[in-house]
Amino acid sequence: MTSLTFLPLVVPLLIGISILLIQSLGLKRQRLISFLGAVTLVWVSINSLLVSLEGEPQVFILGNWVAPYGIVLVLDQFSAMMVLITSLLAIGAIWYAIAQQIDGKGAHFHTLFHIQLFGLNGAFLTGDVFNLFVFFEVLLLASYGLILHGGGRLRTKAGLHYVVINLIGSTLFLFAVGALYGILGTLNIADMAVKIAELPVEDYGIVTAAGLLLLLVFGLKAAMFPLYLWLPQAYANASAPVAALFAIMTKVGLYAIIRVHGTLFGSTAGDLAYFYMPWLLALGLITLLLAALGVLAAKGLREQIAYLVLTSVATLLIGIGLNTPAALSGSLYYLIHSTLIAAGFFLLADMITRGRGVYGDQFESGNPIYKGILLGSFFIFAAIAMTGLPPLSGFFGKLLILSAALEHDWFAIILITILISGLFIIIAVARSGSILFYQTQINQKPEITPFNKYAFFAVILLLATSPILVILANPITAFTESTALQLLDKIQYIDSVLNALPIERPQP
């Protein structure tokens, strides 16, 4: 089954290229290929997840050059989970883009979308730090194109900021990787972990500095304080399907922290073990408070959702920073929930914005929304899930993280921060819901705007994951627990990467 590991990479790449090649055949055929490609990707991802559940991380040796000399792809439960979330997001976002005809507003939407998926899946699957950098660049370059898709003044401005800050991030990434290579002499994550375990004391300083620089880079991707300022404008001004796909972009940063830092500075690293955890926890707490204030201060619905994405990132940073198997397992559950619900919320916000006509998504008293009852019910559903109220999945995710936090030394600060910011978020979202749906100008009739029920199906598809996550909470938490244990078991990861055997060449 080893040969399946590379499929989540190859499928979006081939689909992206083939959409480019059939450019002249018109948008309809591109859409067909793009959607079929996304469906194939979901099937491939589910297959990968089933393969990963067999236990051992699956290692694919690119070009038959064994680690640590060549680049390897590693499929374990965590990467398979991320690949599956990405493909589910992709299917919702592509469906929405096709139904609302957003993909026709600029060139190459589907190609860029699939190349972005290629970059995302590559970042999740690679076992090599420099290859991670390359895949980051692939996904960033596609995202630069996507964020500008459709054009417009605000989009250009937000896009420029997004591009510049990410280019600085890439430069810092190279500095960190270079410093680590200079000391350790390897770029394979598993081999680096082995080298760090045997590191002489005089090299601790440089490796720690490089590790923190790497944390800065991943923190920039994950929008960690004080590097989150690019996120709200970029997400609020991107077109809806792009914003929905970007819900996974911050999680790539978190994934990289768990994968790279967790392996390099994991339990095997001696004195350097988990030195970055207090940073994560403290910065997560600050991010959470500031993001909650941002949710309160937001002037429009999409900006508010962007800040809600930020609160979910901050909660995950805290969950990872707690550094226990239970907290990690809770964080993984919350990660699945927050990514899919935030994406659904972005799509829903676009439906609401269209229904309000000239008022857009601004929080001001406008005309009643056409189909307001349906959109309002889904708004309250998404709001409950996103803010973490029972009975939906956000509540269980937060509960798992909070109950894990009780054993931590800082539990008082963590509980107070999470609960107070939760209160802020609930107040803010309740207020925005009442402005959008209740404080309407009574004498006006709802403007009849076209209600696209096919597009609405994509919203339902993504938001439906929340009750599914609750109903199937038992098997899913069992899965996240075993994933967390696998993540904390560095020895198994290192062994399976470094002992992977090349494929025997057939004798001539």
Partner: protein
């Protein structure tokens, strides 16, 4: 040679950071380019500075030059080149759509506010778009 390389990297980085913090898009692009040069030199230095050594292990020579950082630099150059090209086009687009080349797109930079009266009156943005 160590001192020279270290000074070059430091000088390039400092200039790059300074230019990146400017308020106009063109200095920012230049700053990012300088930062990319600095990181390329840095990656070279991480393979240890050697002169006249082969990149393969040769028992007659005793030492060798590490080829991997050179491959990394090559990749980094290509990526930085592509990114810079993209950024320049984006900066031009921003200049056309936002009406000026400030990174925030709307106001003059603070250190240029005193020059405001010397500038010709700004054209509305739509006209700027049409002239292109």
């Amino acid at each position: 040679m160590e001192l020279l390389v270290a000074l070059s990297i430091g000088f390039l980085t400092a200039s790059g950071v300074f230019l990146t913090l400017r308020a106009r898009t063109f200095p920012v692009v230049l700053g990012l380019t300088l930062l990319a040069y600095a990181v390329n030199l840095f990656l070279f230095a991480m393979g240890r500075l050697t002169i006249g050594l082969p990149t393969i292990i040769d028992s007659a020579q005793g030492q060798y030059a590490d080829p991997l950082p050179q491959a990394l630099v090559l990749t980094a150059i290509v990526i930085a080149f592509g990114m810079t090209a993209f950024l320049i086009v984006l900066a031009l687009k921003a200049r056309a759509e936002l009406g000026n080349d400030h990174v925030d797109g709307i106001n003059l930079a603070q250190d240029e506010a005193s020059l405001e009266h010397t500038l010709p009156p700004q054209k509305p943005n739509k006209q700027v778009g049409k002239t292109r």
